[in-house]
């Protein structure tokens, strides 16, 4: 008889050492931590929190599947319980990490032949960074919605011409307006697969636009950030 044990089914939690902190703006940073023996599928998220605390938050993994470390993209939330503490941690310190979960992934078999449209707001770009870095040859266009151009996190990491930074507050991006405005003006067709990650309102609006454009809900995949 199959004896799947308690240790196999319980959610695994461990302390991981902080290897590097890369500040991208005053409030946003990439936290690189020891991977240990953890494996994940691009698009999954992990719960991360300060050591000796009870609070954790979900962060999509930012790094690639085969990178020898784990990275998460964190934006400091004012009066938050987790992100301000994470921001003040030092290299050599530790964070609590729960094992990766989630089904926000792309089909490996068709990732080079299938057209992918990634639509992110803010740090919702994180799983797409992991997709792009994990799957060479991926056919994609990434629409990144931010307020200002300095929030185009590590834009040079993406192949030129594949990322469109949409800035809503000023015109320093590739497109002055929201991702939803860009999407209304630029159709990618019914055959593409659309991946949405970011705040609830953006996802809701994009769903409506894509539906109006005749895209089947089977081709739309969403991961909500809170």
């Amino acid at each position: 008889m199959n004896k799947t044990s308690a240790t196999e089914t319980a959610i695994k939690t461990d302390l991981h050492e902080i290897l590097d902190i890369r500040h991208l703006t005053d409030s946003t940073f990439v936290l690189r931590i020891d991977k240990k023996d953890m494996s994940f599928t691009a698009g999954q998220h992990i719960c991360v929190g300060p050591p000796n605390g009870i609070h954790t938050r979900e962060y999509s993994v930012y790094s690639a599947e085969k990178d020898p470390y784990l990275e998460i993209l964190v934006k400091e939330v004012e009066n938050g319980l987790v992100s301000p503490v994470l921001k003040n941690l030092q290299v050599g310190g530790y964070v609590i990490v729960e094992e990766p979960v989630g089904y926000f992934g792309i089909n490996n078999e068709s990732c080079e032949t299938q057209k992918h449209v990634f639509i992110a707001s803010g740090t919702g770009i994180s799983p797409f960074h992991s997709f792009v870095k994990s799957k060479p040859g991926l056919d994609y266009t990434l629409l990144h919605g931010v307020k200002t151009g300095n929030e185009a996190y590590e834009k040079n990491e993406y192949e030129k011409g594949r990322i469109v930074t949409c800035t809503s507050r000023e015109g320093t991006g590739d497109f002055y307006g929201r991702v939803t405005d860009y999407l209304k003006l630029n159709r990618f067709g019914k055959g593409a697969h659309y991946y949405l990650c970011g705040n609830c309102n953006m996802i809701h609006d994009v769903y409506d636009i894509l539906e109006e454009q005749g895209v089947s809900t089977e081709n739309i995949h969403a991961e909500v950030y809170f």
Binding site: N2, C200, H204
Partner: protein, 434 residues
């Protein structure tokens, strides 16, 4: 067989079918070992409470059962197991210092714990040889249908749900074990099996997904019918829809909706949209217009506006559900939604819940009336003293018919002629054996 001096084991089970399966499996094992098994704490040498923690009300009901047994003078061995034992283990051990608090992962080893107790031995926590699938096929159970556990745990992490924290990560039982289990219970005499798990649509054993498993189940060369029961509305493939037409698969699904507001579904982090849910139902009803779809709806999730709630009301009106299980949103510590603001007041939740329940009851009656004049294959669960046999048809609608000589656990073809509305919440079809 052990020398148990005919000790009596009492059970009380709360919550889902998975708990029912696990209680049945334990009860059957105790019977095989020579114990007497009852559904109460009175006169029990051992009382086992298989708890639920999905809502605050579930916690309260579970605690009530334990307290009632203690107040009524149960002084034998007390075992508290199930999801509340996982969620509140430390508090329960403090509150009930003489009780054994056994977590889900060790539930299957409760018979060993009981045997050790009567032998005046102690099995330390952590030394129990449990396992979430280590339950033997049950021959003597509290149910007419045999529940078959195929999966445990969940990786979906819906924002309102504590279950991944108490049932753990998704894990699937081996295909061969499931098929063997079904053959065994059919050999015991069961006519219907119910596939159970926390999230069975995510079943995956070494590449065999849920549809492929179901295909193997219906191909078993034994006579039985299979009920899928509760399933999440995501990840259905073509094979799944084709299998719904198979004569062994009963036309009933409990397809959890939770809300018909796209905004609320996003905040709940459900894996589907209302539009995709609706299209699944349309497809199923194209296969069989009387396919019984039952569902769960949560009212008063944080941020649910009157308009969002009206979307759910509209869905209940439109989708012709056979039953809607209405839950008031219940904050569970440790979930994402526990930190959400924009709380709906208890008063508002109660009012919405009543509106939804009323509408759902009207629709249930409407749904069931469609069976008048049709034939149902009714699996008899009980026969009253005045000769009324009661059971469920293949569509999982309750049916009664007058037949004093009817036998339990037997399927009868019943022509439905009327509906008894004495219980307005659960009207029952009335018919005659043909």
């Amino acid at each position: 067989m052990q020398n148990t001096s005919t000790k009596t084991i009492g059970f009380k089970t709360l919550g889902c079918r998975l708990n029912q399966f696990e209680t049945d499996a334990l009860a059957s094992k105790f019977v095989k070992q020579g114990y007497k098994v009852i559904e109460d704490s009175e006169d029990a040498d051992v009382f086992i409470v298989n708890t639920c923690t999905v809502t605050n009300a579930s916690d309260q009901k579970s605690k009530y059962v334990v307290n009632k047994a203690v107040k009524q003078g149960h002084d034998g061995m007390l075992i508290i197991t199930g999801c509340m034992a996982n969620h509140h283990k430390e508090q329960l051990e403090v509150k009930y210092p003489n009780a054994y608090v056994v977590q889900n992962e060790d539930k299957s080893s409760i018979p060993d714990l009981v045997a050790a107790h009567f032998n005046k031995e102690i099995i330390p926590t952590g030394k129990m040889q449990g396992g979430v699938f280590n339950f033997e096929p049950a021959s003597d159970t509290f149910h007419t249908r045999s529940m078959i556990k195929i999966q445990d745990g969940c990786d979906n992490f819906c924002t309102f749900c504590i279950i991944p924290r108490v049932r753990g990560r998704a894990t699937s039982r081996k295909v061969d074990e499931i098929l063997t289990n079904i053959k065994q219970v059919v050999a015991f005499g069961y006519k219907e099996v119910v596939l159970t798990g926390v999230n069975i649509s995510r079943y995956n054993d070494e590449g065999v997904n849920f549809s492929q498993l179901l295909q193997k189940i219906v191909e078993l060369p034994v006579d039985f019918r299979v009920r899928i029961s509760s399933i999440e509305p995501d990840g259905f493939d073509e094979q799944f829809f084709q299998l719904l037409e198979h004569p062994k698969v009963t036309p009933h699904l409990h397809l959890c909706l939770q809300s018909a507001s796209e905004k609320v579904l996003l905040h709940m982090r459900r894996m589907y949209t209302f539009k995709s849910y609706k299209s699944i139902i349309e497809r199923i009803r194209n296969i069989n217009p009387l396919f019984n779809i039952t569902t769960d709806v949560i009212v008063g999730f944080p941020g649910e506006s009157e308009k969002d709630f009206e979307d759910s009301l509209k869905a209940v009106s439109e989708l012709n559900f056979g039953h809607v299980h209405t839950f008031k949103y219940s904050k569970r510590d440790g979930t994402r939604a526990a930190g959400m603001t924009n709380i709906v007041t208890e008063k508002e939740k109660t009012e919405r819940s009543e509106r939804l329940r009323k509408l759902a009851a009207e629709n249930k009656l409407k749904f069931r009336k469609q069976f008048i004049g049709l034939i149902q294959n009714v699996l008899v669960e009980s026969i009253s003293e005045d000769g009324w046999a009661k059971g469920y048809g293949e569509n999982y609608v309750p049916v009664k018919f007058k037949m004093p000589e009817a036998e339990k656990n037997t399927i009868y073809q019943i022509k439905i002629s009327n509906i008894d509305k004495a219980d307005i919440e659960d009207p029952i079809l009335v018919g005659e054996c043909i």
